[in-house]
């Protein structure tokens, strides 16, 4: 039984120019205690997925269709009151903390305690203190710093504090949206190692969102590649990153040159922006696809199972199955 099962989820934003379909018919499952990555460039919809899963879409955003099945309930039709019950308790979000994710006028300890008290108002002082200690230990932070204000923390410490706060009520599902993006490389590495260890130890279902392929690859064992609001390829990290099948994934990885890069790798030219208003389910990558054919503008792509775990979203099955090289 999956912890989280998303079926045909579509999310739109109301704008003066019409409805932007930021996510189009997205499907994926998350097993309990497994890390799943979402990778793609800015604007591909990965942040919107995170927000939709937490019910934190802005005022002009709505779920246009589909289901979000979490612990037997469909979150897509949750009321604000129902959301408030599970947010922070059964599911939590880790934001990019280098910015202002912590309230500047309250001490960090008080903000973490608030996270606990909101869902466990009966908790005793002693319990709160010991839980605080546990959490700080978990994210590898000295307890004395707990009573400082956020502006006294470094970027890495702020991120750790945000992680600790997310884990305060031991949620089963944690969504991390670009948690290390604004940090320098060394701190980033520490945080990622820590996060991976915590995820494994506490058996947390983790959704990890990032534009950085290397980061996603180091934390997750399954990954979904997104473009223009659609998932174009999904599978184990190994499958997707070592033997990508979808033309976009191949281009993405081609752009990401490794140290021992082959001299003949082309950095892709992506001239067009995907049409996010499009609502008929056609492939949004086709405008930029080097393998584009006449079918792309007339038919809808389907899921092609390359292996039990590896699937690709394309209308040209033959093309996908024929790709055999590894990068």
């Amino acid at each position: 039984m999956s912890l989280l099962s998303v079926k045909n989820l579509s999310v739109g934003y109301q704008t003066p120019a019409g409805v932007i379909r930021a996510i189009d018919n997205v499907c994926f499952d998350l097993e309990t205690g497994r890390p799943l990555g979402f990778v793609g460039e800015s604007g591909c919809g990965k942040t919107t997925i995170g927000m939709a899963l937490m019910g934190l879409l802005p005022d002009n955003g709505t779920v246009l269709g589909g289901d979000i099945l979490f612990r037997g309930k469909n979150l897509a039709c949750f009321s604000e009151k129902q959301w408030r019950k599970i947010r922070g308790r059964d599911m939590a979000m880790i934001f990019q903390a280098a910015m202002n994710a912590l309230n500047p006028v309250y001490r960090v300890a008080d903000q973490i305690r608030e996270a606990i008290i909101t869902h466990h108002p009966e908790a005793a002082e002693a319990d709160l203190d010991s839980r605080l200690e546990e959490l700080f230990d978990l994210v590898d932070m000295p307890l004395e710093r707990a009573w400082d204000y956020p502006h006294e923390y470094s970027g890495g410490m702020k991120q750790r504090a945000v992680i600790a706060m997310a884990l305060a009520c031991s949620p089963k599902l944690v969504i991390a949206d670009e948690p290390t993006t604004a940090l320098d490389v060394i701190v980033q590495d520490q945080i990622l190692k820590g996060l991976r260890a915590i995820q494994a130890r506490l058996k947390i279902g983790l959704i990890f969102i990032s534009h950085d392929i290397a980061v996603v690859a180091s934390v997750c064992d399954r990954v979904c590649v997104m473009y223009g609001g659609q998932i174009v390829e999904a599978g184990t990290t190994d499958e997707v990153f070592s033997s990508p099948r979808h033309p976009y994934t191949r281009m993405l990885l081609g752009a990401y040159l490794s140290l021992d890069s082959k001299p003949d790798i082309r950095v892709p030219e992506m001239g067009e922006t995907p049409d996010l208003f499009q609502a008929d389910g056609r492939c949004r990558f086709s405008v930029n696809c080097p393998e584009r054919s006449a079918d792309c503008s007339s038919s809808r792509p389907k899921w092609i199972e390359v292996s039990k775990t590896h699937r690709v979203f394309c209308c040209n099955e033959a093309l996908i199955r024929s790709i055999n090289e590894t990068l």
Binding site: Y13, Q14, T15, P16, I20, P58, D59
Partner: protein, 297 residues
């Protein structure tokens, strides 16, 4: 090339501006008062009876309610109130706009110098701005009145202007600071242009539109302060301003018996300041998209 760019930006801004209901209301009210102010020039055509200052109706010697000959009634000496109201509109516009204009000129100059020169100049000028900004203008005008006697309207305008430039200078200074970083300024410096030349030929054109946009708030404070000063009896006695009208109502003890005399000038002051303020806020929304009312995606 720069000119067409400005014209284009102006029209784009105007489109957004005019859709805003606040802007519409503000423009409407202001137009009404402008018509009133312009109408005051036609008063002499109606005859000497309607002169705001000296026009006494030979048949009326005291304050009367509205009638056919005097649409808003007369004051306690028999002068037509509507005529006075129109004249007051003219005075309000003159005071407001000229005071604001001087403020802008001063504030822009000081803001540019502070922003461009930096260092000690900047620190001293901005500190002076801070101090002046918190000083109550009415109180200062009062003590000056006690020293120098009755004021002429232009002196009032000028003094208000030199008390109100700080707000403008802050905004201009920030703008100058960011412009200072731009490559074309560096290029001028390398080419050997003097600071004076750089400030006035390069920075000023880029900074002036902003300065004029903030003019509206200067207008409101000028009108209110002049009205208060006149109300207390220290205004220019040769001018019929709305504040002066209120002074007459009050001093003649008619304020409880003559609502037709009490209400129009007061409402006019408030409405006109409101109109300018609304215009300023609406322009603010044009400049800063975050303040706009429609939700963006």
């Amino acid at each position: 090339m720069l000119k067409t760019h400005y014209i284009h930006r102006f029209f784009a801004g105007w489109q957004i501006f005019i859709k805003n209901p606040v802007a519409k209301a503000g423009v409407f009210i202001m137009v009404v008062f402008m018509v009133m102010a312009l109408a005051s020039f036609c008063l002499p055509l109606l005859g000497p009876m309607y002169d705001p200052m000296t026009g006494i109706d030979p048949d009326i010697r005291l304050s009367t309610p509205p009638s056919l000959t005097h649409w808003l009634g007369t004051d306690n000496v028999g002068r037509d109130i509507l005529a006075q109201l129109l004249e007051g509109a003219k005075v309000a516009f003159i005071v407001g706009l000229s005071s604001a204009f001087i403020s802008i000129v001063l504030g822009t100059a000081i803001g540019m110098v502070a922003g461009y020169a930096g260092g000690l100049w900047d620190a001293v000028l901005m500190r002076a701005a801070d101090i002046i900004m918190v000083m109550p203008s009415l109180v200062i005008l009062l003590i000056l009145a006690s020293l120098f006697g009755q004021f002429n309207i232009w002196l009032i305008v000028f003094i208000i202007a030199i008390l109100r430039w700080p707000a403008v200078s802050r905004v201009i200074r920030s703008q100058t600071l960011s412009l200072k970083q731009r490559p074309f300024i560096e290029a001028s410096q390398v080419a050997g242009a003097s600071s004076f030349r750089i400030i006035f030929r390069h920075i000023m054109p880029n900074v002036l539109p902003l300065a004029f946009l903030y003019m509206t708030f200067r207008v409101t404070s000028a009108i209110l302060v002049e009205a208060a000063l006149s109300f207390l009896g220290f205004g220019d006695p040769s001018q019929v301003s709305w504040g002066m009208m209120l002074q007459w109502v009050w001093k003649s003890g008619h304020m409880f018996q003559a609502p037709y005399w009490l209400i129009p000038p007061g409402i006019s002051i408030s409405l006109l300041t409101l109109a300018f303020y609304m215009l300023g806020r609406a322009m603010d929304e044009v400049l800063d998209p975050r303040l706009r009312r429609q939700a963006q995606g």
